[in-house]
Symmetry: C2
Subunit: 259 residues, 2 copies
């Protein structure tokens, strides 16, 4: 495997850092290639602005169109070009981050906002009576797998089906489906650690073993069965799921996962 | 009303900027006080790091604990202190932003990550057999209302109940419930504009009128009926919604909204 780890935590001795380091050694020991984007260490620029598109910036700035023009011309900034190159190189992408306010830290969202440009991650493929571009199962990054490794301060029960925060699968849906599956990446079930505010050294021994097992099983793990956009499940162009495809009573984000 | 507008778009002539300006003039003309946090114009620092907590930073950095200690000591950075003061001043908070990758732009997430510190927005109140801190309906910002004003490039149908992106209410739930309702803010139904990539000047005339109507109706608009945490709907401390409170078949995020 060729694995890119995108890692977002400010503290080099944090649990997130330990999990990132363990992923590197576990995968390399097993003979895989690993590259790491340590966003804090890279001093990653988190904010999209006109400086991202240089001479391709229009006046007024149009984020989507300008990013697509700069992508086409090869004039995106070197930091963004490097990340796009890593994504093309990788067959597996691991995201290591703490859940802050129910989603990713701003620095990681800024990696998505700046790296997932028009014509690279969206605005790809033709529109017709049967296709609505290449996305949700097709796209630039098709053939790759992603795995979220997420630390959560609170207890597991708060993220259960009836938990007050909402189900973890629903909280991660905008990332797993909206960001990763959109440009074609298959998404493996996430590795989520709960109660990390209370974690002991003994807990970590068990956690480390579980994480190593997940890492070494990546190639044989079935991805989440998100529905593909252009293969008959959706009306074009409304992109409504066709009636009757889901089990009775299912609704919300779960409509978009096959049985 | 005392309204704080938190605005996140890099282009001063954008639709988002126009909606922000229209909110200022509409509310001021109606006799209300308005302050604006224009995150791009302020060059807002989007990334949480050790510099945020100065001498209160522990080695190793502990984001929650250090932010709480700096909050208690009054030693948070001036930019963060200013935003917390604006939030205490306001009775109404409007967030104006484009939906990028199904959530807020990184600069706005970084405003949340840095301003919503421990002991200010979370870690407030006592725990007991009947209370799990002050949150979800109680908290530092109780008594305030928030309103998301969101522009969306794609068409409305893609965000409908059966739309491929998932329902807009579910996409916004981690913001409306997880970020805003958590520290006690009541959340009004969002003002969402779809298809903004295709918007014409004539469309904007209608949009502007609708936005003014929503702004002038803020005081009489019913908030989303999120369930309060400590008032009998949830088991303590699992925070599972008690069985039988919801209509048959309801699941996911919608469990946490009363009928």
């Amino acid at each position: 495997m060729k694995t890119l780890i995108v890692y977002a935590h400010p503290e080099p001795t944090s649990l997130n850092s330990s999990l990132k380091d363990l992923a590197v050694t576990t995968l390399e020991t097993a003979g895989h290639e690993v590259r790491v984007s340590d966003l804090y260490a890279m001093n990653w620029k988190a904010v999209v602005d006109a400086a991202d598109y240089g001479l391709d910036t229009s006046r007024p700035l149009k984020v989507a169109l300008d990013s697509g023009r700069a992508f086409d011309a090869g004039t995106l900034t070197p930091d963004v070009l490097a990340e796009q190159e890593k994504l093309r190189w990788a067959d597996t992408i691991i995201f290591q981050f703490p859940l802050w306010w129910y989603t990713m830290p701003a620095i990681l969202k800024g990696w998505v906002d700046r790296v997932f440009t028009f014509h690279f991650a969206y605005g790809v493929g033709e529109h017709s009576a049967t296709r609505y571009g290449e996305r949700f199962g097709e796209g630039t990054l098709a053939g790759r797998k992603a795995l979220l490794s997420v630390t959560v301060g609170g207890p597991r029960s708060h993220y259960a089906a009836r938990g007050i925060n909402g189900p973890i699968d629903d909280l991660l849906f905008p990332i797993q489906h909206g960001i990763l599956y959109y440009p074609g990446i298959e998404v493996l079930p996430p590795f989520v650690l709960y109660g990390t505010d209370q974690m002991t050294d003994e807990d970590y021994t068990h956690v480390a073993r579980a994480w190593q097992q997940r890492l070494l099983a990546v190639e044989s793990t079935e991805p989440i069965a998100f529905r593909r956009q252009n293969f008959g499940d959706y009306e074009i162009p409304s992109l409504h799921l066709k009636e009757g495809l889901e089990p009775t009573g299912r609704s919300g984000f779960r409509l978009h996962v096959r049985d």
